[in-house]
């Protein structure tokens, strides 16, 4: 990635927690995963931050974008289907923090 990209902090298999914050604006992190813990499935590259792009700002440095895998039973306490089911969501690095 270019020098305009933030360095990737996570690697596939790392456990991460989605920040439980609710800023206004054009946010691409779905509400239902905020505050939940998942595992990095892959790094997709680095992309200009859509929260900035939406307001005609450059969105740089580009944010690493990950696919994070969550267990459906972790997202939905009342999940009634197979316990092995997962939901995978694209999340930008600035929304993630290390989970223990």
């Amino acid at each position: 990635m270019s020098a305009e990209a933030a360095a990737a902090r996570y690697r596939p298999g790392d456990r991460v927690r989605v920040r439980a914050v609710h800023p206004p604006g054009h946010v691409r992190t779905p509400w239902y995963c905020r505050g939940h813990t998942g595992v990095i499935e892959r790094l997709c590259g680095a992309f200009a931050n859509p929260e900035e792009l939406a307001y005609n700002r450059p969105g740089l440095p580009a944010q690493p974008l990950y696919r994070v895998r969550f267990r459906a039973v972790d997202l939905w306490p009342d999940y009634r289907e197979d316990r092995a089911d997962v939901v995978e969501i694209e999340i930008y690095q600035h929304w993630l923090e290390e989970a223990r």
């Binding site: 992190t29 779905p30 239902y32 997709c44 459906a72 289907e81 197979d82 995978e88 930008y92």
Partner: protein, 350 residues
Amino acid sequence: MNDPAGPGRAPAGDSRGYYRRMQSAIEELLILKGVVTADEVAREVAAMARRGPERGARFVARCWVDPAFKAQALADGAAAAEALGLEVGPLRLVVVENTPDTHNVVVCTLCSCYPRMLLGIPPEWYKARAYRSRVVREPRAVLAEFGTAIPDGVRIRVHDSTADMRYLVLPMRPAGTEGWDEARLAALVTRDSLIGVGLPGAGPQRDQPRRNQMADTIRKLAYFALQAPDKPGEGARILEALRGAGVNLVAFSGFPSGRKAQIDLVPEDAAALKAAAKHLKLKLGAAKTCFVIHGDDRVGALTDTFARLAEAKIGIVASQAVTAGMGRYGAIFWVKPRDANKTAKLLSAT
């Protein structure tokens, strides 16, 4: 469509939704400011309407016959598509493979992100709140409603397309297709199987390969005729009055009838039209029945519907159809009153 009141200001009684008005306003502003031209918008809309799921089907068929291509597809979907001659522009494509123990399904819970360069315009249900909110919470229940049963012990991976990636499901090659060539295999690959709500060559889509692929909404609706003098301004007068009364029309048609003109009104809400007509002293005829179709625009859009009527020996009294832009079309048709219920049942009209 240009708003006479100018960008951003809806004329009084404008019955389009808020977001449709906002979309028109933004489009007009982009054109006025020279960011895009009306011609470019029209060309892109036409190009979008031309692309369909057969592109994705070709991609999958190649994966099934060529292991090296499949490996490339799983590593870099967009590069693989380009290698196949499918132009995909800036698309970043993640290909997710179904296996005997994993089934993939794609959604965009935030809006309607969809691999349009490979599948064309998304179906209405993909953009609907019901699909977007439910498939992440109860995927098996949703898939069952599509006629797709996922066996116990198979894990479901739901892919929420929230950011820069787009997703294509690589279904498993159906058993019994050994030795088939790519074209024959591609014909098994339905749009729904590429989203993950269906399976290739299975379910109701196999019996009706084209019919269910882009389901039209067919509604049986009441319409009301009224007579007006055959002179300039009558249509405008009546529409103006209905707009002022907030009556939303699904369809409208007018034509000469003897020495007068007949105007047919198909309201979204018959009671609202009747109340408004009473107030406005418009003399409506009795409620009669017509059928209105909305669907994804494509070549031969009406053909299957009319063929089914023909098979059932139902004659069409009159019909009009028009494309609606943005990849959609609408049609209206009338049958003899005695055929109305049979038609509704045959076409599963709502």
